[in-house]
């Protein structure tokens, strides 16, 4: 019974990932690449040295956080597809804090708090539009993604602009205010272990607390939850705030530890988080391999382009294929 109900569905994402990779390799083989070389290139790029491993983990960190953000909301039936906007608002708010406050060891952590708060507020805005103005959350959240990108653009060209350049980019966070690297040569910071800790914590909340049980019940059947005395509205609000905060935190850590500045260029960690959540079948621990898979394809795509001349978009094709396969494999069956 255990084998049929719990182990098998958990294997679906892994099977989907392998199948998606197989698809890519088969395609590349058809057009004349040696599959062994493609794989070896990817492997060297990901795990060829401790430095490489560090970069892999660094790239997976924001994906894991935005994945946890999307997953938390989805499990509770709150379709927060606004993680991109919340990520951007978290990032720009953190940047403002880092530039405004006198640099200290505390700076990145204050920035993280501010970023999480901004993400939560941005999600609350979308949720409030749904709740009180009748705008479906999917719409309000997606549209606020666009608004957030504009707000960020205006800020990096306005109050946060780097006066020494004409390019639309912000000033650089002073070194003393940055989140320090754990591994020299990478931007692997404390954000990575913290993200894993948050994944474990999410899993414990989901599995072992009354709150997590209520989220699950509401996500699967809000009417039954309501008639069982669960305050559905307040739980959903909480899930929305928590989701926004996680997405904002991802943006804040990225600014404080990895990029140190922001430009008007598009980012997509927020959107990717939704895919990570789906690939991980909304299981917080499942999102760790899912985030590594996505980050791995990003890195490998770049390596393939540089060393083998394969367009890096191919990595995105594999991501899409994996998520589509997981969804096709009956995502809604046996979620718990």
């Amino acid at each position: 019974m255990i084998a049929a109900r719990t182990v098998w569905p958990a294997l679906i994402p892994f099977a989907a990932a392998v199948a998606a990779l197989g698809l890519i390799l088969a395609g590349l083989t058809l057009v004349g690449y040696a599959p062994g070389e493609v794989l070896a290139t990817a492997w060297r790029g990901l795990a060829g040295s401790p430095l490489r491993l560090g970069i892999w983990a660094q790239e997976a960190t924001p994906l894991l956080l935005t994945g946890l953000a999307a997953g938390l909301a989805f499990r509770c039936g709150v379709l927060n597809v606004g993680t991109e906007g919340q990520y951007l608002m978290g990032a720009v708010t953190a940047l403002a804090v880092l530039l405004a406050l006198p640099p200290s060891v505390l700076s990145p952590w204050l920035a993280a708090l501010a970023g999480a708060g901004a993400g939560a507020l941005w999600c609350a805005l979308a949720y409030g539009l749904d709740r009180w103005r009748g705008v479906p959350l999917v719409l309000s959240a997606i549209l606020l993604n666009v608004v957030a990108a504009r707000v960020l653009g205006a800020l990096v060209e306005g109050p946060l602009h780097d006066p020494t350049t004409a390019a639309p980019q912000s000033a650089l966070v002073p070194e003393a205010a940055r989140l320090g690297a754990l591994l020299p040569g990478t931007a692997l910071t404390l954000a990575a272990p913290l993200a894993v800790a948050l994944a474990v914590a999410s899993w414990l909340v989901q599995r072992q607390t009354a709150l997590g049980f209520e989220f699950t019940v509401i996500g699967l059947n809000p009417v039954a939850g309501d008639l069982a005395g669960i305050p559905v509205e307040s739980r959903r609000r909480l899930a929305a705030l928590g989701s926004g905060a996680l997405a904002g935190l991802a943006g804040a850590f990225q600014v404080a530890g990895v990029t140190w500045f922001l430009s008007g260029d598009a980012q997509s960690y927020g959107y990717a988080g939704i895919a990570v959540a789906l690939l991980g079948r909304l299981h917080p621990l499942g999102m760790i391999p899912a985030a590594l898979f996505f980050a791995g394809l990003d890195i490998s795509g770049r390596q393939w382009e540089r060393r083998l001349g394969i367009p890096h978009d191919l990595g995105d094709v594999a991501k899409g294929a994996a998520v589509a396969l997981v969804l096709a494999a009956g995502f809604f069956r046996g979620r718990r």
Binding site: Q208, A210, F213, T216, V217, L220, L227, R336
Partner: protein
Amino acid sequence: MNGPVPPPRIAVAGVSKSYAGIPALDGVDFQVPAGVVHGILGENGAGKSTLMKILYGLVRPESGYVRVDGVDLPGGSPAAAARAGIGMVHQHFALVDDLTVVDNCILGAGRGLGLVDRAAWAARIRQFAGRLQWTIDPQARIADLGVGQRQRVEIVKALLAGGGQTRVLILDEPTAVLTPQEVDELIPALEALAAGGTTVLFISHKLHEVERLCPTVTILRRGRVVYDGPRPERDAMTRLMVGEVPPVLGLHATASPGESRLEVRNLEGGGLHDLSFTVRAGEVVAVAGVDGNGQEPLIRAILRDARAVTTPGLAPEDRLGGIRRLGLIPDDRQHEALVLPLSLRDNLVLKEHRRFPFATSWGWLRLGRWRAHAVDLLTRYGVRGGGPDTPAQDLSGGNQQKVVIARELHRNPGLIIAVNPTRGLDLAASADVLRALAAARDAGAAVLLIHHDLEELLAVADRVLVLFGGRIREAPSRERSAIAGLMLGSPTP
């Protein structure tokens, strides 16, 4: 015998179908000639809906055949059934709310690509409705129509889908959602259809309607035909439908009721008018009535703690506290009571999941206790078909309801509210549910039973209230015909 005898309009021979090894239909035979209204009767689970799905081509029988005017109906194809002239009106309407009557009818005809002449369709709709003495506005939006009108649209749609050549019209429990007046208007229309040569199969378990409409009947029990022929007397029909199992009767209490547990005083709104009643400890107060006469707003008012509703004897606190203290058996167990993908363990503890010993005061779950609790309740309430880890969706309807009852009644709540608690259950499972309610009452609970089935209701009710047109009246006696009269709005005798 002079000349060739025409083949029967519809002939069903040796039709069998089973689900997961359990036979739903077992060698069903019957024939119906052209131009009659024929009743198909049976308890819930007798196989009526499976039979209808086979006639309409939704389900392919494992053996046997269906012939329309002597021609074999290919199984498993609704399109072929429609071509053969079979029309179907489902119990739950299949209309698109935002479209007009014309557009729904065009949709029902399934013309695929090509131009449609709405004016011609509208004219045909008026013409078909006129034959049945109905007026239907072809331009009306479905959302703006009442239930009775929607059903007329469904019937006209089914007739139009047959291109005016409908040979057999199947109506699945057509009166379940109608008011008595609407039923009165439906019946002559069906008779007019039959007079025009269409055979009407009228599926129902409402015997008084069958008596008004069907000269011949087929009675199913547990997937077999137990009777086929001229309509028998009421008592004989009941016996044939339910078999020799004695109906659950005489569960009403002898002791006198105690203190008041639920008081409704001058409740207004949502179509209710000045509703007042009291439910006391140790009594079952049943609310009888045809669906749609105020049941929904009444239930909502009670569950949402409308100001006119008080629950003395139960700590008022907030609504949530109130709901947790209620034993609530809602109308639709799959959507309102159970979380189908979750395990029985989770479903059985839901509502108490924050209470000791199922969680610490910090909200940390003690899942070992959940499991023991589930095992205990599953045994005590005789739930079959699964253990603590089985998802609720894998159980049969009767066992799902047992899970709901176990969860809601095991803590001996002071007040129980049950809404149509036997809906969709077979006779044995229904009897179990009614006994459980009676036992809870005997243990001192106040029970409010809002139920559509008068027979079952009378079996457990200590007092009967009748809801009609949003007003409530106490039935002067337990006499069935008097209560049925009140349900249909007759003035107090």
